[in-house]
């Protein structure tokens, strides 16, 4: 009997690293929104005679990503040239990694316990960008090389995912890890994280379909989920009718919530990969790899678990803090000054400004008001209290005013009123 077909999804994720300088030259790597071609030099313009010198920080970070994804690290790695023609590719080839990527054979576990295998994590350079404009009434394509040479990490999974939901969870987990490492903003809007799912219905991961559909230009996890689910359904219908979907690249139209054909790949591209002769092979020592391992921060899941056991936080709150390095660090800094769960709530619900110290911000709620002050006000205004008790309840406004004056305005008048009422009843 034929094995039943399974939804089979693999992901290719590109992440721009937020290093100070580009991958192979000293130009700034932060290119978003900058005036075109203002952050270039002979190297990233691919001018004759210019040579690439690899950015050590980018290499460190790539290996840290690999380690965080439980990968093995290649002790000897090379950069390779990937040849193709496109106007935004300055040299006619992209410096990437082919045979010996920095990291390979990793894994990431979903909440369900399912393990998604990571094929490889490698480092390459980003390309320039084409801008299609009208200049003097003529349609032209312009090239902006600001992005050319920005370090780009490619993470490739095995086709272990089975649904849009799983893909979305995987991507969120990956993003949280990358952010906790502090190596990328993973901002999909700015293109610093790009997703390309490969989708098919296959008998198994070891017996893949003869075709696969690649989806490009997805700029949110939600779109990724819905695009994958849409295309699985589309393919399923074809297969049910005895047709085989064609191998192609499709785009996603969010307004119609459907994938649309973009480009049919008839032949495999021949990139003529060969080792980049301008960069000697990189030999990584065990000590170097160990040192990077020591530098790895705790990953979000581990941190969350710790927050639950140590401070008794609710798991959702712990997870929300753990995946956001800024919130987490604020929590850790101030946890001794408030009840942990309250502090967590305030941070998650954005009730505190993370750029300011906690002390000033804690005075706000009335229950933080020293009751002694309220007692003192009541004592000093015995007449007013007597009037209140005699039924002239509007006098409470005066008493609230006196309390607010005594605390320098740092209290919630509504809550002060409640306490006053309590005390006088």
């Amino acid at each position: 009997m034929k094995q039943k077909l399974q939804p089979t999804i693999g992901l290719e994720i590109h992440v721009e690293l937020k290093t100070k300088s580009k991958m192979f030259c000293g130009c700034p790597a932060d290119h978003f929104g900058k005036k075109p071609n203002t952050q270039t030099c002979p190297v990233c313009l691919g001018l004759p005679g210019a040579l690439p010198v690899p950015n050590q920080k980018a290499i460190d970070w790539t290996i840290m990503i690999g380690l965080a994804l439980d990968c093995q690290v290649n002790r000897e790695s090379t950069f390779d040239r990937k040849h193709y023609f496109y106007p935004d590719l300055a040299k006619g080839f992209q410096i990437s990694q082919y045979d010996d990527p920095f990291c390979f054979k990793g894994k990431l576990k979903l909440t369900s316990g399912k393990v998604i295998r990571i094929t490889r994590v490698h480092l390459e350079e980003d390309t320039g960008k084409l801008l299609h404009r009208q200049v003097d009434g003529e349609k032209v394509s312009l090239v902006d090389f600001n992005r050319s040479g920005v370090p780009l990490v490619e993470i490739v999974t095995e086709p272990d995912l089975s649904s849009g939901e799983e893909a979305k969870e995987f991507l969120k987990k990956l993003r949280d890890i990358l952010r906790s490492l502090g190596v990328s903003d993973c901002d999909m809007e700015k293109g610093s994280m790009r997703l390309e799912p490969n989708i098919s219905w296959s008998r198994s991961v070891n017996d893949l379909a003869s075709y696969k559909v690649e989806i490009k230009n997805l700029n949110s996890f939600r779109f990724a989920k819905s695009a994958i689910n849409y295309d699985l359904e589309r393919q399923k219908k074809m297969l049910d009718h005895g047709e085989t979907p064609i191998q192609e690249t499709r785009g996603y139209d969010p307004s119609k919530r459907m994938t649309v054909p973009q480009r049919v790949k008839e032949t495999a591209a021949d990139y003529r990969y060969f080792p980049e002769p301008d960069i000697p092979p990189l030999v990584l020592s065990q000590e170097y790899i160990e040192a990077l391992k020591d530098k790895l921060p705790k990953l979000p899941e581990e941190t969350a678990l710790e927050l639950v056991t140590k401070y008794g936080l609710k798991p959702e709150s712990a997870a929300a803090l753990a995946k956001d390095p800024a919130k987490l660090s604020y929590f850790n800094q101030h946890v001794d000054k408030a009840k942990p769960q309250d502090l967590a709530n305030m941070i998650i619900n954005k009730k505190v400004d993370l750029s300011k110290s906690l002390e000033g911000q804690l005075k706000q709620p009335a229950d933080a008001v020293d009751e002694a002050i309220i007692d003192k006000v009541l004592k000093e205004n015995a007449d007013a209290v007597a009037k209140y008790k005699a039924g002239k309840t509007q006098v409470i406004g005066f008493l609230v005013g006196q309390v607010m004056k005594a605390v320098g305005g740092a209290a919630d008048p509504g809550k002060v009123m409640v306490i006053l009422r309590d005390k006088m009843s």
């Binding site: 002979p42 691919g46 001018l47 004759p48 005679g49 210019a50 040579l51 690439p52 010198v53 690899p54 040239r81 040849h83 023609f85 106007p87 300055a90 040299k91 006619g92 080839f93 090239v143 495999a268 021949d270 990139y271 003529r272 990969y273 060969f274 002769p277 301008d278 960069i279 000697p280």
Partner: protein, 467 residues
């Protein structure tokens, strides 16, 4: 006294003693360029600022400034970028290209006080061993106008031999500095790969390109290399090793063990064999030991070179895609097109395993065999070229014949070892060099051996008569 015939050593003495100025020296060279360049095509372009650079050097000298090449007119090969001066690599495709930055070598020359007199001609992109494959006029041999100069640093060869500048630079990818050295009676150096920065030199093949000097004497080359060499942050393949003052340590009575590689003499022109044998005897008589060796992989060096180097050529030239630099790719010459096609094929999927990858394995083997053999000797000596300079146009129809010129020079490029050509006896009235190959980064020994050869022959005393 004709100042243009001076060596670096004597020119510096003259300048320091105030016998003449850099302006005079430069003017004399410019006069000769004006007179002979239209016929010999040694230069692609002349620096309009050469005289002001010379005057500036004279000013510095007056102020007591001491720099190793102060006021010395030098001709960088056209593929070495000099900001503001056209750099074509002798291809029409770059006829309109003015670089925005200096190559590291030119920067070092300038820092050492040298005057850039002009950019020398070459086989376009470095593709050729004759000087014929240029879009700026074929370079002619100063010793016989109808003969080739050797290439691809043809212009530097003719300019130095023909007294149109004092020293030239060249890039040696498969023999490009040693070959014009041999055919033009000058010293041509290919330093160890990684000894001199490649930054800012229009690349031919990134894994073998080696930048070095072409000069009248061994001393000049040694001093020039001391200026050019060293670690460069902008070239990740440069070695972080100290640079000796090679020229201060040339004269030695040291006796060396010199290896003759059997395979270098197979199929060698008989007259060439004879002059090399004479050189070997002279060295033996001086007390050096001679040892016969065999390096079997040498036989396959040329195919290895073709398959790996041409793949890199195709890759490096792909940036000239017709979008930038002003001209379309139809401006690539026959030879560049041929190499792009061979190189593309060699690295293509389905063929890479039998060509490029196979050649890479062979290259490792050749490097290993060279290293092993160099454990037993201080250097190899042998011929540079398998045949004497041919007539211009003679091999035009059969590119394979021209490729054969490289058979004896490419091995050192594939292995990365330093090698040079030092002039010995003429053959049929044409110059000829002896090749010296040493261990990685042992240029000092190479210069010491060459220096002893030079003492025997003193070929720099022979000057060509230009027409």
């Amino acid at each position: 006294m004709d100042v243009t015939q001076l060596t670096l050593k004597s020119a510096l003495e003259g300048l320091n003693e105030g016998k003449f100025s850099s302006a005079e020296l430069t003017q004399n060279y410019l006069d000769r360029i004006k007179r002979y360049n239209p016929k010999y095509h040694a230069f692609v372009s002349v620096n309009p600022e050469a005289m002001s650079e010379a005057k500036e050097a004279d000013e510095l000298r007056k102020k007591g400034k001491k720099l190793p090449l102060l006021g010395i007119p030098v001709g960088p090969k056209d593929n070495f970028l000099y900001q503001g001066m056209k750099a074509t690599a002798a291809s029409n495709l770059l006829d309109n290209y003015t670089p925005q930055y200096d190559s590291t070598v030119v920067k070092k020359l300038k820092a050492a006080g040298a005057v850039v007199i002009g950019k020398t001609n070459q086989d376009a992109w470095g593709h050729g061993s004759s000087g014929e494959h240029t879009d700026y006029g074929i370079t002619h041999n100063p010793y016989a106008y109808d003969r080739v100069t050797g290439g691809s640093s043809s212009g530097s060869g003719t300019a130095v031999a023909g007294d149109m500048c004092l020293m030239g630079t060249g890039s040696d990818t498969g023999g490009s500095n040693r070959q014009p050295g041999s055919y033009c009676n000058v010293v041509g150096i290919k330093p160890t790969y990684g000894r001199v920065s490649r930054y800012g030199v229009i690349a031919m093949a990134s894994s073998t390109d080696s930048m070095g000097p072409l000069t009248k004497t061994v001393y000049d080359a040694a001093k020039f290399l001391s200026v050019m060499a060293g670690r460069d942050e902008k070239d990740a393949t440069t070695a972080d090793l100290p640079v000796p003052q090679y020229h201060l340590n040339l004269e030695t009575e040291k006796k060396f063990t010199l290896g003759l590689i059997k395979e270098y003499f197979e199929g060698l022109d008989k007259k060439f064999t004879k002059v090399i044998e004479t050189a070997v005897k002279k060295l033996e008589a001086k007390g050096h030991k001679i040892k016969q060796l065999s390096i079997p992989a040498v036989k396959y060096a040329y195919p290895m070179y073709c398959l790996t180097v041409f793949a890199e050529i195709a890759s490096n030239l792909s940036r000239f895609d017709g979008i930038r630099y002003g001209y379309d790719r139809d401006r690539f010459g026959e030879e560049a097109k041929r190499r792009i096609m061979i190189g593309t094929h060699s690295a293509s999927s389905g063929y890479a395993d039998q060509y490029y990858n196979q050649a890479m394995v062979g290259r490792k083997m050749l490097t290993y065999q060279f290293k092993q053999a160099l454990e037993t000797v201080d250097a190899f000596i042998g011929p540079v070229f398998p045949f004497p300079p041919f007539k211009i146009g003679e091999k035009e129809t059969d590119p394979l014949k021209m490729y054969l010129s490289d058979v004896l020079t490419v091995p050192a490029n594939l292995t990365g070892q330093p090698a040079m050509s030092v002039p010995i006896d003429f053959v049929d009235g044409m110059p000829n060099g002896l090749q010296v190959i040493c261990k990685h980064f042992d240029e000092q020994t190479m210069f010491q051996i060459a220096s002893q050869v030079e003492q025997e022959y003193q070929m720099y005393k022979i000057r060509p008569k230009l027409i």
